[in-house]
Amino acid sequence: MSQDHTTPVRTGAVLVADEVTKAFPGALALDRVSFAARAGEVHALIGENGAGKSTLIKVLTGVYAPDAGTLTYGGEPVRFGTPLDAQHAGISTIYQEVNLVPLLSVARNLFLGREPRTRLGLIDFRRMHRETDAALRELGVRVDVTRPLRSLGVGAQQMVALARAVAVDARVVIMDEPTSSLEPREVRTLFGVIRMLRERGIAVVYVSHRLDELYEVCDAVTVLRDGRVVHTGPLAGLDRLRLVSLMLGRDMGEVRSEGATKFSGDHDPGTQPVLSAEELSLRHTLHGVSVRVRPGEVVGLGGLLGSGRSETAKAIAGALAPDSGRVVVAGAPVRTGSTPAAIRAGISLLPEDRKAEGIVPGLSVRENIALAALPALSRFGLVDEARIDAVVDTFVRRLRIKASSPRQRVGELSGGNQQKVLLARWLAMQPKVLLLDEPTRGIDVGAKAEVQGLVDELAADGLGVLLISSDMEELVEGSDRVVVLKDGAVVAELTGADVTEDALLHAIAATGEAAA
């Protein structure tokens, strides 16, 4: 490895970005950003959504060419024409959204572009399957490697992406929120892999919103805000509050006063359930799940990935047709398997996959908010623009949606604001029940707090809320009651003082043993 002695600060630096600038129409995404990934170091890259993390990663991996500034790789200035060039040079990336080929098998994905060949030049499937299986076992994943990737859970897909990165002998591994869809057990495995990478002298760039993880696995940190580097240095000795205030650019006191989550705690629920889902069953996924939510109550759905949380929510919202079971809203039965029927009954779902199933990216903030409520905002099939403006205006202000104008395309907003737009869409329908599937996943700290605060507020207004979250802290602090699912069935229900992380862990763990 070549050493650059003229700049001792960057000793051991494998991949260096120097004064990199990148602009998009209407926004300066990176403003003279310098960043260095060193061999054998796990470097955290953090910042609120829209701070420029994703853009920086895309510049580092050849997706975007920088407008100004230089990239140095292994001491040599480089210019990656395509992501493939960067990949061939030894820079592996694991994106927030798994970017593999969903229809190909797990093994094909792992070996994509470097398939082992038989002597005849054909793909050596046997060897490929064997090696894939071995590589995944090393990461603690056991799946049928011949299955198409999309048939796996998101967590398992992520591990395949990681296995691929490790397998290509990378010198730099960039991880963009790798844990956002992993189970705790998988997270432990991931950290093990990261440490292994560090031992091998690989430079790891780690992007995450979860501060605990950073302190657990990272050595150094670079904080971005509004396209600029606001801090870079070792992580040890930098306390959490300082880090958060750097990210948010806010006052220390303000951050402290907001606490860990924005949830205020208990609500005062009514007595009759506004939503009762009875004995929902769906082949392979749900086995007689029953959930009741009273007005003003936030009910958490706990459990590991694949326990049937999202499926329960979708079955209630009509997006999945259950084989059997009933859904009753405010005493009236709802036809299952029909989204419009569920919506008419007052059920609203914020789906887990916000980008694919939630927002309509090409439409404006305004159109997105008005989408579901269009019939109510129209007369004789004609859209009533004035009423839409009034509704949109109300919600943009109430939910503090940050957009350059209501006409801005939703696809251009940050994740948090997209989520708020979706919330606004449903609140405009004046729902009775709100189903929130991972409402704060992948959105920045500030927006997360706001969304949590909103959920609280809505429950206080008498809405029934069903909350699904992989963030245990969020689930426990936000819920009045937690229903724990395991393999598509309810295994425990925590109420009152029992709603604690400890109890939740125990519930999951206990049933895990019972099931095994």
């Binding site: 602009a23 407008d67 919506i343 779902l349 309509v360 090409g362 989408l371 004609l382």
Partner: protein, 320 residues
């Protein structure tokens, strides 16, 4: 956005590219128009403008329907056959008078649209396959109904084809009115809003509780009705029903007009103004080449160049 600092020449360049993509078709029309004013004899005359307007009207009307289909992330290949079917129906029903005949023709087009939409919305056939099936079946049906060209002698139809108000041909007036109507539908109606949402993200639209199937069927029914109407006007202009050749390759002209006009093939966006300009651009291009008596092969090459340019622009736009 806290800061909207637009700096540097490169930023201007990206903006320029985007402007070109969005308004290039209008610029193309203006440039071609000015070129013709200079080089083509007798170009600036009311009679010539009338001719161009009359010739572009059927293509434009078909393109309006096509824009709706494309906006829903689909395509309607059956439009040419619907025109043929429409001309056959006109001929068959003209005995009841032109109004009834036109009504029947448009109903026929709507039925084809209904079949297209049902295949796509309920059966889940891809639009290109579903409408291809009806493209073949529709033409076959038209020829079964009317095996060969037949003259139309109805004075009402003849007036529709060649008459006008204050020197503006009926065909041009009808096409303009329909363009305004379709633009209105896209912009101001719940149907239009829903169509765009479905075209942009079908799963999201479904989860938002939109009546996806109904809207899709509506789009294809409208496309069928517009194509049938275009068939009626083309018949009136020709004063003959010619199901063998009427509307052949019309689907390609219409798609070209829509795409050149800046409507992305990926759906979620419909530009009616652009579609009108796209149709006019191609009409002017063809007219220019014919008026200057350039070899027919040149016309084909020129159209190919425009299509390639449009597809290239669409690709750039697709990148976002």
């Amino acid at each position: 956005m806290t800061e909207l600092s637009l700096r540097g020449a490169e930023l201007d360049k990206t903006r320029m590219v985007r402007l070109l993509q969005d308004y290039g078709v209008y610029a193309g029309v203006v440039v071609l128009f000015l070129v013709n004013v200079v080089v083509t004899p007798n170009f600036v005359s009311a009679e010539n403008f009338r001719t161009q307007a009359v010739q572009v009207a059927p293509v434009l009307i078909v393109a309006l329907g096509m824009a709706l289909a494309i906006g829903s992330e689909g395509v309607d290949l059956s439009v040419g056959s619907v025109m043929a079917l429409s001309t056959s129906l006109i001929s068959l029903y003209l005995g009841y008078g032109p109004w009834i005949a036109i009504l029947v023709a448009v109903l026929g087009g709507m039925l084809v649209g209904l079949a297209n939409g049902s295949l796509i919305a309920f059966v889940g056939v891809q639009p290109i396959v579903a409408t291809l099936a009806l493209m073949v079946a529709g033409r076959g049906l038209a020829l079964v109904l009317l095996p060969q060209l037949k003259d139309i002698r109805d004075p009402g139809m003849a007036a529709l084809g060649s008459g006008g108000v204050l020197g503006i041909p009926y065909l041009a007036l009808i096409a303009a009115a329909l363009a305004v109507a379709v633009a209105f539908v896209v912009r101001r109606t719940t149907f239009g809003r829903r169509l765009l949402a479905i075209g942009d993200s079908r799963p999201a639209a479904q989860l938002a509780g939109l009546p996806v199937r109904r809207v899709l069927i509506g789009a294809y029914v409208l496309s069928g009705a517009l194509a049938a109407l275009a068939g009626v006007l083309a018949t009136a202009r020709l004063t003959a029903s010619d199901p063998t050749s009427l509307g052949t390759l019309m689907e390609l002209s219409a798609i070209t007009a829509v795409v050149v006009g800046g409507t992305p093939l990926s759906g979620g966006r419909v530009r009616i103004g652009g579609t009108v300009a796209g149709a006019v651009l191609i009409q002017l291009l063809t007219a220019t080449l014919i008026k200057h008596d350039l070899p027919p092969s040149w016309t084909q090459i020129a159209q190919a160049v425009v299509i390639v340019a449009a597809v290239y622009a669409a690709r750039e736009r697709g990148k976002r």
